[in-house]
Amino acid sequence: MSNLKVHWSPIHDDVFCTCSPNKILLYKVVHSTEKPTQKVPSMRQMSDTLWAVEQPKSIEMGMLKTVAWYPKPEPDNMLAIGLANGRVILNNFSGNSESDLIKKEFVPKHTRSCIYLNWNPVDSHLLAEGLEKYRNDSCINIWNIHHKPGNELGDRQRYSSSHSESSGAIHTPYVEIGGPSETTASFCWFKKEPRTFVTGMNTRYLRIYDLRDCTRPQNQTQTKMIRGASVDRQNEHRIATFNENHVSVWDVRNFDKPMLTFQEPKAVSMIRWCPTRKGYLGILSQDSLTVKIYDILHLPQTVGSEELDQYYSERTIKVLNSQIVSSFSWHPKQDSRLLTVTQQGLLRDLIVQEHIPFNWSVDSTLVTAHGKSMSITSFNKDNSIPQDIAVKMKERILQGYGLKSDIIWENVYAIKEEPELYGVWRWLSYAREMLEYNKQGQTFQRGMMGKHLGVKSILGLDVDDMATSHMTNMYWSSDFYRKLACVKQYHSAERSKALQLCGWGGDHHKPELLDTILHELQMDGKYAIAAAMALFNLQISKAIEILSTSKGQENTDLSTVAMAIAGYTEEKNTLWRKTCMSLLQKLEDPYLRAMFAFLTCDRENYEEILTEQGGMQLSDKVAFACIYLDNDKLKEYINRLTRKVIEAGNLDGLLITGLTPDGVSLISRFVDMTGDIQTAALLCVFSLPNEMSKDERVLNWIESYRELLDRWRLWHHRSKFDIIWRAGDNFRVISQAFVSCNFCGKSIACNMPVASRARPHNSYSAGTLTSTKPKISCCPGCRKPLPRCSLCLTHLGTPSGSALYTQKDKTTYSAKMTAIDDWFTWCQSCRHGGHASHLLEWFAEHSECPVTGCNCKCSTLDHTARLAAES
């Protein structure tokens, strides 16, 4: 099956043929959905969706050398078939000869093998045939297929001795090219100059002939690259040829030397220009598994005085795994479509894809270009990339994330779907409350005033100055029916503050506080947590009560646990313990497990609770440790936890570290992992003032986040963020612009400080009422009037039109009127101006300045304004 060739029909988009040395098969391409259901003898897959159905008709013929498809629709599917004896037969698959062309034969004077056949693409009655060398005959015959056998002279007797029965045979070519003993290797017609062609001859010439004068070549060049001559249909100046493992591209206007020569690793067997895509040159090498395509963007050329180099790229098209490609054919009409056949006869239909340039916008829109077309793909909220932080951050900010500076935890409303961020906001909110409380001066703190604290700082662990804590033997609440042994707890003022930060209330002198918290938890349906908290506070009956009164889906489970706890005994090796162990296997809730762990553990060894991984909140673990660990163990535990949370980038860990260097490392790790610059920047800003506010990383997060907001054109949100950021320090943007009087050059300040200085008696009544605002229509310095509004021609400083309504109608016009309507405004470029409202109205319809004779295109100068108007 080797030496298999494939040809697309030049007429039908879905028809092609394959030729082997003795058989030509015709195929029709069908989509897999239209695939005939009944068993068709030969149907072959070409691609994922396309199948080739073998047509029942075929041409079988020995000595078949080459095939060329007639480029006109009538007669249908006509092929010129060149044989090893040099004869050319016209045939179609149907075999019935409606047209007299079918079965017509063309016979050369001397019998020798046909090398190639080539139809003239325009004057399609001309068929070029290349023949092997013969000592006294020419090597290229161009046949006119409309020649009638009768036109021939007596040659027939002389040459047709072997095939006398073929009465229809034509023996006289239209034109013969090439002298005796010349050879030809390849041939291609030009299309724009249909009577001309290029041919490779005598192993060393590439010649261009014109049929109007075929005695000598019109142009020729001496080269070994004479095989496979192919004219680029997209640019007929370009010709490609090959020899052995070299491929050359020629420009006929500069025919002396090739413009480009590619070297291939193996001998080349065929080359073809893509007829539909400019610059694609397909190359097939012998024994190759791939088709190589050169995408030639530019040949070397001269532009002006500049000599420009070539520019091309290479593509390698894999066809089928480990199958040697035997031949390929470009689709004559469809873009970059390539049909290949392997030596085993497997077909593959491919499209050579263009490179796809693309770009992301800030709004998660992707623009892609494919060839000459472009498309936009948007990934908005509803069909976004799963969980992408860019989309998420924008969603959050639009929900108001990070804009609620008064009641911090309201920010959480914007991140309802992201419980992993709750913990850190809870810390912020509690730490803020603690800060407010400290500010009232009712408590001590060593150098910690005015900071959002972490547990570590509260306990004095960061400066290695841990306040002593006193150990107490606490009794279980007395309402349990069984008398239980004491449990060691540790207390100190710092510890109870830490507990409060963890949301545990913490003060063991105020049990009613615990009750409130437990009640809240129950209200929220978090019975397991409430019960665990009660138990850790030694309120065992309370815990049982909570569990048994629980409502909800899991309540059966919880009641079982309640019963189990009720049977608590301190003795070891009892049946109770064994049963509990088996129950423990089934429990999934980390808090229920912790309760059992607490009940069954050896006193003073709480590792199981403190190191559990199942989902207990960090704050609860820390709170537990603050009650039950002595100073040394607590310190060790907190330090261990710190390392762990930093490594994991677990934001909950800020509860421990606060915004210290450790905390910043923690956030840095969090940013590395999630890209959530938003939360990072917000934490840094909300926990101001803190010692890290000048840290490079912190500033970088804040700046990056601000730029992100700017890119999203959320300038209002950015400004609000800036306000929160700068609220604490004395940062003040200095006045940036002044209006000075044309005459005296003094500033025309109408802001409050000046006004109150001028009229001190007004200072207390001045404020929100516009009526008390000083009216400045002339320079306060020299009393010269201000310029006039270019539209209403009143002096600037007088109210714009809408304010001329009486005060009574305030409600009617206030809606239409913005606060800045009266403001002076002017074009930065032509320096004409007027009332803001008037100018806005003007520029809604005009782009030119309203002042006579001024051609300034004021409104088109500001691109940002246009952007804002659009969005």
Partner: protein, 376 residues
């Protein structure tokens, strides 16, 4: 499913580059037909071509926007050895809206071969422009006076000693200026095909800090992820495979003291994908550097994303091939049935959550109740 909209590009030849501006409301495209087009997003959400002009005497390879702080400024580069800087100026307001003119402000003609890429520096470095050429030169220009963008001075030329095909600036404001340059040289023996350069403040020179030796196949595109506060840099490389390299700066302090100590990086290959089953041609990051997209010879744009553990995975595929578009045209009568460029979602796997929290209902807390919790 994502929704893809076709735009009539009206380009007469292959489009080589498309680029969004800072705000994502404007777009520029350039093509082998030697023209550049600017597109604006209208209020109706449609992209309209507001300017088109023919310029270079060869394919225009790349187009890129400057930060809007410097005005509406574009840079293009071309096969004709030139890079050009353009600024918009407005003409009359016509019936159809504002028609803009783009005026050539400057031509950078130092290159002796085709200019293959052009990129503006991040804003914090001022108005700077880097171009790279197939002869291996990377040139960095600066416009010292942003009010007059026709004056560009050549600040640095860096000899990369390989045929440059692409470059990318690192956007981090925390680290020294950094550029990655890729080469599409076919010769595999030439060593690493991607180099990273850093600007050294004390020597005032760009020095090579890394050669990515893992990449020896031709590199067609490189892109630094927007840094956005991360402590490391991510560099995507489009080569035979798609590679993501992370560069973690080590010991930046060693530069202190007027010593021209080269910064060191811990370099790690984070991911390498062969899913395109063919060379990768272009890469691009989203605004946060969390989603990477790549396009290859397979005619697909693939999107990649890292999970919480830093493992990168394909998340979706956008088919951009001609057959798809052909189908779309047929289906255009009923677009809802077959949205153009339909996308199959891969491994829509839930990312690993950080932690399971008790207070999933916390935001529903009542203010008063919550305050009761902390009591002093």
């Amino acid at each position: 499913m994502f929704v893809t909209k076709q735009i009539e590009s009206e380009h007469k030849d292959l489009i080589h580059d498309v680029s969004f501006d800072f705000y994502g409301k404007r777009m520029a495209s350039c093509s082998s037909d030697q023209s550049v087009k600017v597109w604006d997003l209208g209020e109706d959400g449609e992209w309209k071509c507001t300017a088109t002009w023919k310029t270079h005497s060869g394919s225009v390879f790349r187009v890129t926007w400057a930060h809007p702080e410097f005005g509406q400024v574009l840079a293009t580069c071309s096969f004709d050895r030139q890079a050009a800087v353009w600024e918009e100026s407005f003409g009359d307001v016509g019936r159809e809206g504002v028609k803009s003119n783009w005026i050539k402000k400057s031509i950078l003609v130092d290159s002796r071969t085709a200019v293959t890429d052009v990129k503006f520096a991040p804003k914090h470095l001022g108005l700077q422009l880097a171009i790279c050429c197939s002869d291996g030169m990377v040139r960095i220009y600066e416009c010292p006076d942003v009010m007059n963008i026709s004056q560009w001075s050549l600040q640095h030329d860096i000899q990369t000693k390989f045929k440059c095909s692409c470059l990318s600036w690192n956007s981090s404001r925390m680290h020294p200026p950094m550029i990655a340059v890729g080469s599409d040289d076919n010769n595999p023996s030439g060593g690493g095909k991607c180099q990273v350069f850093e600007y050294n403040d004390s020597t005032r020179k760009w020095t090579k800090v890394e050669t990515i030796v893992a990449v020896t196949d031709p590199v067609h595109d490189v892109a630094f992820a927007p840094n956005l506060g991360r402590s490391y840099h991510l560099l995507a490389i489009a080569s035979k495979e798609l590679k993501i390299i992370s560069l973690t700066p080590l010991g930046r302090d060693s530069v202190i003291g007027n010593q021209s100590v080269v910064s060191r990086f811990e370099m790690k290959q984070v991911a390498s994908f062969t899913d395109h089953e063919s060379p990768v041609w272009r890469v691009s990051w989203n605004v946060t550097g969390t989603v990477l997209s790549s396009s290859g010879d397979d005619g697909c744009v693939r999107l990649w994303k890292a999970n919480y553990l830093g493992r990168w995975k394909g998340i979706s595929i956008l088919k951009g091939d001609a057959s798809q578009t052909r189908q779309d045209r047929n289906f255009s009568a009923n677009p809802s049935q077959n949205p153009a460029g339909a996308v199959s979602q891969q491994s829509n796997e839930e990312l690993v959550r950080m932690n399971i929290k008790r207070n999933s209902g916390w935001p529903s807390f009542n203010t008063k109740k919550d305050q009761g919790k902390t009591y002093y």
